[in-house]
C-alpha cells in the first residue's frame, strides 16, 4: 500500500463488488495483484544435474543478475520427472550458502590461524611443493629392478561430485607426474 487511494479503499470495494464480506477480491492489495514468481522474472534458466546422490535428477537453475535465485526439479528429465529429495531441494541454499568461503586461505606451519592469499600465489606455491614432493619421493625401480617411474610423495582424495572432465584432467596430470596414490569417494 504505497500510496493510499480512496477509491481503492477496500471498504468501498467491498460495497462495489460482490465480495460484500470482504474475504475475497475486494481486499486484494496492489502487491498481490502484481505477484510474479521469480521463475518468471529470471534472466535465464539453465538445465543442470543435482550434485548430491547418483540418481542424477535433473535441475533447472534460475538465474537473475548472475545470481542463482531458484533451483528446482526439471520436469523434462526422464530420470527424476521434476522431483527432488530434500538435499536436491536445498541446492539453492548450497549454492548461496552463507557459510561458503570464497577466499583462498593459507596456513603456515605452526600457525594458529589462516591468512588470506591470492589465487595465483597459491597455485604457484602448490606447484612448487608439487614438484618438490614429486622429487622427494620418486621411485625408479622396485627392489627387483622392475621399473616403477612414480612418486609416492603426492596423494589425492577426490570427491565423487567432481565432474568427469575434472577427474579426467586430474588423473591425467597426476599420472603424467607419476603420482599414483589417487583415490576417490567411490571406495569410501
Amino acid at each position: 500500500m504505497a500510496r493510499f487511494s480512496f477509491l481503492e479503499w477496500p471498504v468501498l470495494r467491498q460495497l462495489r463488488t460482490s465480495d460484500k464480506t470482504g474475504r475475497g477480491e475486494s481486499v486484494v492489495s496492489q502487491q498481490t495483484r502484481d505477484t510474479t514468481p521469480r521463475t518468471v522474472t529470471a534472466d535465464k534458466v539453465v538445465q543442470s544435474v543435482c550434485p548430491y546422490c547418483a540418481v542424477g535428477c535433473g535441475q533447472k537453475i534460475f538465474v537473475k543478475d548472475d545470481k542463482v535465485v531458484q533451483i528446482e526439479g526439471d520436469p523434462d528429465s526422464p530420470i527424476s520427472r521434476g522431483r527432488l529429495c530434500p538435499k536436491g531441494a536445498a541446492s539453492e541454499q548450497l549454492v548461496n550458502a552463507p557459510g561458503r568461503v570464497t577466499d583462498v586461505l593459507y596456513r603456515a606451519p605452526k600457525a594458529k590461524d589462516w591468512t588470506k592469499i591470492d589465487l595465483p600465489t597459491a597455485i604457484d606455491m602448490i606447484a612448487d611443493r608439487f614438484i618438490e614432493a614429486r622429487r622427494n619421493h620418486w621411485e625408479d625401480f622396485d627392489d627387483k629392478g622392475h621399473p616403477l617411474r612414480r612418486t609416492m610423495g603426492i596423494a589425492s582424495l577426490g570427491g565423487a561430485t567432481i565432474d568427469n572432465e575434472e577427474n579426467y584432467l586430474a588423473k591425467k596430470l597426476y599420472t603424467a607426474a607419476g603420482a599414483i596414490q589417487i583415490e576417490n569417494q567411490a571406495r569410501i
Binding site: P51, D66, I123, A127, I154, D163, L173
Partner: protein, 978 residues
C-alpha cells in the same frame, strides 16, 4: 525396476538415500509388486515395504545362500535359463576343493600371503581350450553340483541361528522370490553400501547374482540387481577414475613386474585371443588413451609412451596411503570435495595422518573438518595434537559448485549428463578443471627447461585446452578428448562416433573408450535434453549413456535361447526372423544380426565369435557366472564368514573371518577380539552406520545448510527399548559409545524400529549410527561426534572398501569425557579387553591340515593359469573389470604362483621396501605415538594386492533400472492421459 513383481531391498535404505529413485519402487508397488526390506533396522524404506525382515548385519550370505540352497533342492530355478545362459554346466578343475571340505578354505590358499592361487577354480577344457560341459548337470564337478554341495548346509535353521530371521519370515521371502520369478514374472534386488561396506562386500553381491541367475532374473525387465550409489558421479569417477588402480575406461594401471611392456599390458587388458566380447580390442583402447595423453610423443616406436605410465605394485588406496602418511612417506595431499576427517573410517587415524603431511590442499565450499583439524579437531581437544606443533601447511581453495561450471556427471545407470554453467564462481572460487589446468600449466612452466627424463611425461603431455574469455577451460574440449578423435587421414581431428573406430596404430586418440560417442559428430550428446514426454520410453535422446548410448545391458537374456520372448508379459528384446535382426523395446545389447542359433567354433576371438545365445557379452564366455573361475580374490563362490569383530562364532566353518580380508594391524586400528575370545565381552554390541535422507555423507554439503540441518540437527544413535532398559539409557538423553578405537557421544533415540535378534541362543543388540556429523570445521550449522571415528579399517580384498556396517562396541548413559581424559577413557577399554594389534586379526582359523590341503591343491596346478580367463567381473554383468590377469607366464615367478592375479604378484615385495621410514619407532611416547609406532609394515594391510574389481561394488548392474525408466515413462504417460 518399476516392472518388477517383487523387489528385495537388502543392504540399502533406498527410500532414505535415494528418495527420487525410490519413486520407481513406489510405482512397482502401486502396480502390485511386493516389496521386502531386509535390513537390521526398520527404516523409512521399510515403512512402505510390505515386509520387514530384520537381519543381523553381515550375515547376508547365509540368508542368500539359504535361498540358493532351497531353490536348488526344491528345483525352483529357471531351468532353461540356467542351462542356456549360465555356466552351470561347465566342469571345474578336478583339483578344486570346496570350503565344505576344507572347513572354510577353498583350494589354493597360500598361508604365507593369505591369498588364493586360483588355478584350481578354472574350467576343465578340451585340447582347443574350449570348456567342457555336462548338459545333464549331474557331474559332481559341474558348477551346478558344486553349488548344491557348497550351499547344502545353508538351511533355514542356519538362517535363524545366524541371521536372526524367523523361519516364517524366511519362508515368506523364499516364496516371494520364487513365485515372482520365471517366464512370467521377475524379481529385482537392490543394494547399496549396506553390502559393499563389508569385508565380504563383493561376495554379497555375487551371492545375489547367483540367486538371480538361477531364478532367471538377469537381463530381463524388472529383474537384475540394482546398485544404489551415493554420489552425483560416483559412477563417472570409476569410469574416468581417480583411483590408483585404474585408468579411464577400466583399463588397469600397469603393475610393476607384470606389465613391464606394452604387450604384457595389452595381453592383460584383452585380446582377440582371449576374448569373445568387446574387451578383445584392448590394444586399441589403450593406444588411443596414450595418444590422447601424450599426443605426438606417443608413437608406435615407443609403444605409444607406455613407459610414461607409472607402475603400481600393491594397494595404494586411501587407507594404505594414510598409513604411509603416518610414516612420513607422503608430502602433499589434495582433498577435492572430500572430508576424510569425518567421512573415512577410523577418523582419528586420518587426522593424525594429515598432521604428518608437509602440505595439504583442501578444495571445498566451506571450511570443513578436514580443513580445520589442526585448530579445532578432536585431537586438539584431547591434547594429542597441538596447533603450534603441527608443521603441515594448509591451503584452502574455494571450489566452484555445480551451477558455476559446465561438465558431466555420470549417474548410477551410466547416464552421462551435461550440466550447463549458470553463473560465474564467486570470489576466488574456481572449478577443479581450472585448478588442475592451471596447476599443470604452472608445473610445466617451472619444469620447461628440465632435461630430466622423469619430467618428460609432464612436458610431453597434451595440455593445450582452449580457455574462454574468463580464462576458464572449455569443458567441452575435454569431453571431446575423452570421446576421442581421429589423427591424420581425411577425418583428422573429427570426433569418433564409437569405440569400434579406435585403432591400435596411433590414428585415433581417445581418453576413455567407453565414452566414445559422447561427442559423436561434434555434438555434445550428454547435453541433449529432449523432454521425456517428447520421446519414447527409453528416452534415448536425454543425455547419453555409455557404452554407445545403450541404456540397458545384456538384454539379450530377456529372450529365450531361440530368440522369442520368454513371455508376453516380460517381452523386451527378441529376434525378428523376417528382418534377421534383434529388435524390441530397447537397443539390443548384442550383435544386431547374430541369429539365436548362430554358433562359433572358436572359444574366443572377439565379438565376432559370440554365439547366438551368449547374452552376457562382456563376460569372456558370454555366460552368466554362477561360479567365478577368476576375478574374485576371495573365492569362486560366496561363502559366509563372520565380519571382523563379530561376537558370533561362524556356525559353518572353523574359519571365522574371511581368510583373505585385508586387515591393518596397528595400535591405532585395534580390533575387538572376536567371538569367544576373552575380551570380546567388553564390546558386546554391534554398531552399524548409515545415512539419513536429510544429510549428505560427511556433511560438507548439508551441515552447513540451515534447511537440512534443522531436519536432523543432532548426532544420535538408535537403540531398541530392550537395550535401553538393559543399559539404562534415557530417550533423548546422552549416550557414550565406545569401540576399540574411539569413544563418541550421541543422543539416544529409543525405538522399536531396532529389534534385538536372537543369534545362537544369545541376544544380539544392534545400534544404528548415522555418520553425518563431525567435530570442528568452521561455520557448520550443526556439529556432533563422528560415527566414523568408531570404525576400524578392515577391507574387502576385491575392492578395498572398508567394513563400516559391523563394528563391535559398547554403550553407556551419559556424555563422553572431554580433553585428555577421553584418551584415557578409550585406553581403559582397550586394556580391559586386552587388545593388541593382533586381536581379531587372525587370518586363518582352520586346522593346519586343511590349510595344507588347500595349499597343496593349489600347488598342484601352479604351472598354468586358467585356460579360461580374461573375463570380467565375476559379479557378472558390468563391462570394465577385465583386469584379471592369469595370462600364461605373465607372472615373473617371484614366489607367488604363476597364475596369481596380476597385481597380487608383487604384493609383498612391493609393499614396504620403498618405505622412506624404515626405522621402527620405539613405543615410548605414550599418546601421539600411537599413530605411527610399530613397524611400517604393520601398517600396510597384510596383503596389498590390487584387484581388478575396484569397481565391482560401485559399478554394479544397472540394467533393471534403465529398463524401468522405459516403463516408467509409459506409466507416466498413462497417468497424464487420465
Amino acid at each position: 525396476m518399476a516392472n518388477a513383481d517383487c523387489i528385495i531391498i537388502q543392504g540399502s535404505n533406498m527410500a532414505e538415500c535415494h528418495p527420487v529413485g525410490f519413486q520407481w519402487v513406489s510405482e512397482a508397488k502401486a502396480r502390485g509388486a511386493r516389496i521386502i526390506h531386509v535390513d537390521p533396522r526398520f527404516t523409512r524404506t521399510t515403512a512402505i515395504a510390505d515386509k520387514h525382515v530384520p537381519i543381523r548385519a553381515g550375515s547376508d550370505i547365509v540368508l542368500l545362500g539359504a535361498l540358493i540352497n532351497r531353490v536348488l533342492t526344491e528345483g525352483r530355478y529357471f531351468d532353461e535359463y540356467v542351462r542356456a545362459y549360465t555356466n552351470a554346466a561347465n566342469l571345474i578343475s578336478d583339483d578344486y576343493v570346496d570350503t565344505e571340505d576344507l572347513d572354510g578354505l577353498f583350494s589354493g590358499f597360500d598361508p604365507d600371503t593369505n591369498s588364493y592361487e586360483n588355478s584350481t577354480w578354472s574350467y576343465q577344457t578340451d585340447e582347443h581350450g574350449a570348456p567342457l560341459k555336462d548338459p545333464s548337470l549331474k557331474d559332481p564337478k559341474s558348477v551346478f553340483q558344486i553349488l548344491r554341495h557348497h550351499y547344502s548346509r545353508y538351511t533355514p535353521e542356519m538362517v535363524e541361528e545366524n541371521c536372526g530371521i524367523k523361519p516364517a519370515d524366511f519362508d515368506y521371502l523364499y516364496e516371494s522370490v520364487t513365485e515372482n520369478s520365471g517366464r512370467e514374472r521377475t524379481t529385482c534386488f537392490a543394494y547399496a553400501v549396506g553390502w559393499t561396506q563389508h569385508s565380504l562386500g563383493a561376495q554379497f553381491i555375487r551371492t545375489a547374482s547367483i540367486l538371480q541367475l538361477l531364478l532367471g532374473n538377469m537381463g530381463r525387465p524388472g529383474g537384475g540387481i540394482m546398485a544404489l550409489r551415493g554420489h552425483a558421479t560416483i559412477q563417472g569417477s570409476t569410469d574416468i577414475p581417480t583411483l590408483f588402480n585404474l585408468l579411464p575406461g577400466y583399463l588397469p594401471m600397469p603393475s610393476a613386474g607384470v606389465h613391464d611392456t606394452f604387450d604384457d599390458y595389452v595381453a592383460a587388458v584383452g585380446t582377440p585371443e582371449t576374448h569373445k566380447g568387446y574387451w578383445a580390442n584392448g590394444r586399441a583402447y589403450a593406444t588411443s588413451l596414450l595418444k590422447a595423453w601424450w599426443g605426438d610423443a606417443a608413437t608406435q616406436d615407443n609403444d605409444f609412451a607406455f613407459d610414461y605410465l607409472p607402475r603400481i605394485n600393491g594397494a595404494h588406496g586411501t587407507y594404505q596411503t594414510a598409513v604411509r602418511m603416518l610414516n612420513d612417506g607422503v608430502d602433499g595431499y589434495f582433498l577435492l570435495g572430500q572430508n576424510p576427517a569425518v567421512g573415512s573410517a577410523n577418523g582419528r587415524m586420518q587426522r593424525m595422518a594429515m598432521s604428518h603431511l608437509k602440505w595439504m590442499v583442501v578444495r571445498d565450499f566451506s571450511l570443513i573438518e578436514s580443513a580445520t583439524w589442526w585448530k579445532d579437531g578432536p585431537e586438539i581437544e584431547t591434547g594429542e595434537l597441538k596447533t603450534e606443533d603441527i608443521d603441515t601447511e594448509m591451503f584452502f581453495l574455494p571450489a566452484a559448485n555445480h551451477t558455476e561450471k559446465a561438465g558431466t556427471f555420470t549417474q548410477t545407470q551410466r547416464l552421462v549428463q551435461w550440466r550447463h554453467k549458470a553463473v560465474n564462481p564467486p570470489g576466488d572460487a574456481q572449478s577443479e578443471l581450472d585448478f588442475f589446468y592451471e596447476l599443470g600449466q604452472a608445473v610445466r612452466e617451472k619444469l620447461k627447461d628440465s632435461d630430466d627424463p622423469r619430467d618428460r611425461p609432464l612436458l610431453d603431455m597434451t595440455w593445450d585446452y582452449p580457455v574462454d574469455e574468463e580464462g576458464e577451460v572449455d569443458a567441452e574440449a575435454v569431453v571431446k578428448e575423452i570421446n576421442g578423435y581421429f589423427i591424420g587421414g581425411d577425418r583428422d581431428g573429427e570426433p569418433l562416433d564409437n569405440f569400434n573406430q579406435m585403432t591400435d596404430d596411433g590414428t585415433t586418440a581417445g581418453g576413455c573408450w567407453i565414452y566414445a560417442g559422447v561427442y559423436a559428430g561434434g555434438q555434445n550428446m550428454a547435453a541433449r535434453r529432449k523432454p521425456r514426454d517428447e520421446q519414447d520410453e527409453t528416452a534415448a535422446e536425454w543425455a547419453w549413456a555409455w557404452p554407445a548410448n545403450r541404456r540397458i545391458l545384456y538384454n539379450r537374456a530377456s529372450a529365450a535361447p531361440d530368440g522369442t520372448p520368454w513371455s508376453e508379459r516380460k517381452k523386451f528384446v527378441w529376434w525378428d526372423d523376417e528382418t534377421g535382426k534383434w529388435t524390441g523395446k530397447d537397443v539390443p545389447d548384442f550383435p544386431i544380426d547374430r541369429a539365436p542359433a548362430a554358433r562359433s567354433d572358436a572359444a574366443y576371438g572377439g565379438p565376432a565369435n559370440l554365439d547366438g545365445d551368449d547374452p552376457f557379452i562382456m563376460q569372456a564366455d558370454g555366460k552368466g557366472w554362477l561360479f567365478a573361475p577368476s576375478g574374485m580374490i576371495d573365492g569362486p563362490i560366496p561363502t559366509h564368514y563372520e565380519p571382523q569383530e563379530s561376537t558370533v562364532a561362524n556356525p559353518l566353518y572353523s574359519q571365522q573371518n574371511s581368510p583373505t580380508r585385508m586387515v591393518m594391524r596397528r595400535e591405532d586400528n585395534l580390533s575387538a577380539p572376536g567371538a569367544g575370545v576373552p575380551g570380546s565381552e567388553v564390546f558386546p554390541y554391534v554398531f552399524t552406520t548409515y545415512r539419513l535422507t536429510e544429510h549428505h555423507t560427511a556433511g560438507g554439503m548439508s551441515r552447513w545448510l540451515p534447511y537440512l540441518s534443522e531436519l536432523q540437527p543432532e548426532m544420535f544413535c538408535e537403540i531398541s527399548p530392550e537395550l535401553a532398559a538393559e543399559v539404562g539409557l534415557e530417550p533423548y538423553g546422552w549416550a557414550t559409545l565406545v569401540s576399540p578405537r574411539a569413544a563418541i557421544e550421541a543422543r539416544v533415540l529409543v525405538t522399536k524400529r531396532m529389534t534385538p535378534l536372537t543369534i545362537g541362543g544369545k541376544t544380539v543388540h544392534q545400534i544404528g549410527l548415522p555418520y553425518h556429523w563431525g567435530v570442528g570445521g568452521q561455520g557448520a550449522v550443526v556439529e556432533g561426534d563422528s560415527a566414523n571415528d568408531l570404525l576400524g579399517v578392515t577391507m574387502d580384498p576385491n575392492v578395498y572398501i572398508q567394513n563400516s556396517k559391523y563394528v563391535a562396541g559398547t554403550i553407556m548413559p551419559g556424555r563422553r569425557p572431554r580433553g585428555p581424559e577421553l584418551v584415557d577413557f578409550v585406553e581403559k577399554y582397550q586394556r580391559e579387553a586386552g587388545l593388541s594389534p593382533e586381536s581379531g586379526n587372525q587370518q586363518v582359523t582352520v586346522p593346519a591340515e586343511d590349510v595344507e590341503a588347500s595349499h597343496h591343491a593349489g600347488q598342484g596346478r601352479s604351472a598354468g593359469g586358467h585356460a579360461h580367463r580374461g573375463g570380467d567381473s565375476a559379479v557378472g554383468v558390468t563391462p570394465g573389470k577385465t583386469l584379471d590377469g592369469g595370462r600364461d607366464g605373465a607372472s615373473d615367478g617371484d614366489g607367488t604362483t604363476a597364475s596369481a592375479t596380476v597385481d597380487s604378484a608383487d604384493d609383498r615385495s612391493g609393499r614396504i621396501t620403498i618405505e622412506p621410514t624404515e626405522a621402527t619407532e620405539p613405543a615410548e611416547t605414550a599418546v601421539s605415538n600411537r599413530a605411527d609406532d610399530g613397524d611400517p609394515s604393520d601398517g600396510d594391510p597384510d596383503h596389498g594386492r590390487h584387484a581388478d574389481g575396484s569397481a565391482i561394488a560401485e559399478t554394479e548392474v544397472a540394467e533393471a533400472e534403465a529398463r524401468a525408466r522405459a516403463a516408467r515413462d509409459r506409466q507416466e504417460n498413462e497417468e497424464e492421459d487420465d
